[in-house]
């Protein structure tokens, strides 16, 4: 009896130790992890160098490209984490993933001379996706913030959204802004693991909060009277309203600036490459075209593109 118990405890301890070690590994050991990837990547670069040269788009200002870029070009596909249910930005349709994020990701893939391969990313799994090398980049209404910047890198920003509030048509609760939500009497819905939730907790700490994995569930919750408001980036809300204009409306009083970035793996040379592609899109008008064709279709006027962060490029 005692023997058996000790053995079980032992197994649990071994498992826990393994977890701790691997946690530390992914936490502080980024350099080590990179190093192991460097060797084969470097070989590839050498052997592929002439091909690279010939394939690189000359008109892009897409200067350089290190191991990561070379590895993507060798594999022939750009693995993109993208939202599948984010109207106007990333929606999975029978004919493929469409939306502003999809346009940007496709432009990056074209510039690299490879095919984009979309995978569904939900808000909570975007960092793990990159950290575990499931995708090359994340274009998923991905707000740049400090905590995330510590574990992944961001190209861009390629768009600045603002957090706003969606209410039932006619605004029956008279919600005017984020201050109106700061009461336990009103339930506000947003998505688990999102910056919007963090902002809500910070700016309306007394709010009663409901969270789901997708905004469509928030919309359902509002229809059932479980929530008085949904808060997140205005563009997302516009997408929801676009689908059910009779049910919802935007209060149009944004209270944050949410710069959207393209997430890449920590330290990856892909970041500067993507910035180059974005700059090209800004300059030749294809950024504005992509915006008008997607987000703009919901009646939002096209803003000036935000300034890119080229630090370290």
């Amino acid at each position: 009896m005692r023997m058996r118990r000790n053995r079980r405890l032992g197994i649990a301890l071994v498992a826990a130790t393994a977890l701790i070690l691997s946690a530390c590994g992914s936490d502080d050991g980024d350099d080590g992890g990179e190093a192991t990837e460097t060797e084969p990547a470097a070989e590839t670069e050498e052997s592929m160098a002439p091909t690279d040269e010939s394939m690189a788009p000359s008109e892009g200002g897409t200067s350089g490209g290190g191991e990561a870029v070379a590895a993507i070009q060798e594999s022939g596909t750009l693995r993109v984490g993208i939202k599948y249910d984010q109207p106007l930005f990333g929606v999975n349709t029978p004919s493929g993933v469409v939306g502003f994020d999809a346009e940007i990701a496709t432009a990056i893939a074209e510039s690299l001379g490879v095919e984009p391969e979309f995978q569904e990313a939900v808000s909570a799994n975007r960092e793990p996706f990159l950290q575990e090398d499931q995708v090359d980049l994340v274009a998923a209404t991905y707000t740049i913030n400090e905590e995330r910047d510590e574990v992944v890198d961001f190209a861009g920003p390629y768009y600045v959204a603002g957090q706003d509030i969606m209410v039932a048509t006619g605004n029956p609760e008279g919600i005017e802004g984020i201050e109106s939500l700061n009461t336990a009497d009103l339930t506000t819905c947003t998505v688990e693991g999102s910056t919007s939730l963090e902002n809500l907790n910070e700016m309306a700490p007394d709010a009663d909060v409901l969270t789901f994995d997708t905004y469509s569930k928030c919309a359902d919750a509002m229809r059932q009277g479980r929530a008085a408001a949904v808060t997140t980036d205005n563009v997302i809300l516009i997408g929801l309203i676009d689908e059910a204009p009779d049910d919802f409306e935007l209060i149009d009083n944004p209270f944050t600036e949410e710069p959207y970035g393209i997430g890449v793996q920590e330290g990856s040379d892909l970041r500067c490459y993507v910035n180059g592609v974005l700059q090209t899109m800004y300059d030749d008008g294809s950024w504005a075209e992509a915006y008008e064709a997607t987000v703009g279709s919901a009646g939002v006027s096209t803003p000036e593109p935000p300034e890119l962060n080229n630090e370290g490029c």
Binding site: M1, R5, R8, L9, A12, A16, L19, I20, S22, A23, C24, S26, D27, S123, A124, E127, P128, Q131, E147, R148, E150, V151, V152, E192, G193, S194, L197, E198, V209, L210, T211, F212, D213, K217, D220, Q224, G225, R226
Partner: protein, 215 residues
């Protein structure tokens, strides 16, 4: 690493309390449902038997996630809107209750028919027969499987995060997002689950030993 846990311990603690409340309520409900449904299944009344097997068939063959969504959005669409926590407690209780009914039924079947005959022969009716003779003996054979069910029920509470119950796994995912330290955040929850469940396993083994002595 330790600073991480000292800093976020209050969050973990809140989540642990929600998880424990959910476990206690759902598992109590599962025990009650299990006893009633198992009683129906062995009862001499055919409609009760059919009801009970229908119940078990329904809940055993549906993924828990579907049960949760049906209980939350489906029942909500019918006009019965309950909060996330009560919905999760009842849905999980009904789900585990179906498994509990099967465990209890097999326990009842493990009691020899002679025991029930002797009980009937001294004039015990159906309910007192179950209460005095069959269930107390069945309990011995079902402690271990009920222990397994408890552990499964405990871990299944994590699914409640999908309907906005801020339990332990939800908290660890929230910390992932706030701190972007995936492994560390999940490890905290893993340690808490493991410690509690190792303790629960010990309790059930002790119960098993105690009830086994008399036989």
């Amino acid at each position: 690493m330790l600073e991480f846990y000292t800093e976020y311990w209050p969050d973990y603690w809140d989540g642990t309390l929600v998880t424990l409340r959910l476990v206690v309520i759902s598992f109590t409900l599962a025990c009650i449902i299990g006893v009633i449904i198992a009683g129906f299944r062995v009862s001499p009344v055919p409609p009760l038997r059919s009801f009970a097997s229908g119940y078990v068939a329904l809940f055993r063959n549906m993924p828990l996630l579907v049960v949760f969504f049906l209980a939350f959005f489906g029942v909500g669409d019918l006009g019965f809107v309950f909060g996330p926590f009560p919905t999760a407690a009842v849905a999980l209780g009904m789900y585990t209750g179906a498994y509990m009914a099967e465990v209890i039924r097999s326990g009842i079947n493990s009691v020899s028919s002679g025991q029930a005959e002797a009980g009937r022969a001294i004039g015990l009716g159906f309910i007192p027969l179950l209460r005095e003779i069959v269930i107390p003996q069945a309990v011995r054979t079902v402690i271990a499987p009920i222990g397994n069910l408890f552990i499964a029920n405990f871990k299944n509470t994590a699914v409640a995060l999908t309907i906005s119950v801020f339990e332990l796994t939800y908290i660890s995912r929230k910390l992932i997002n706030e701190t972007a330290r995936t492994w560390l955040s999940l490890l905290g929850a893993a340690i808490i689950y493991t410690v509690i469940l190792l303790f629960a396993g010990w309790v059930f083994r002790t119960l098993e030993d105690r009830y086994a002595i008399k036989r």
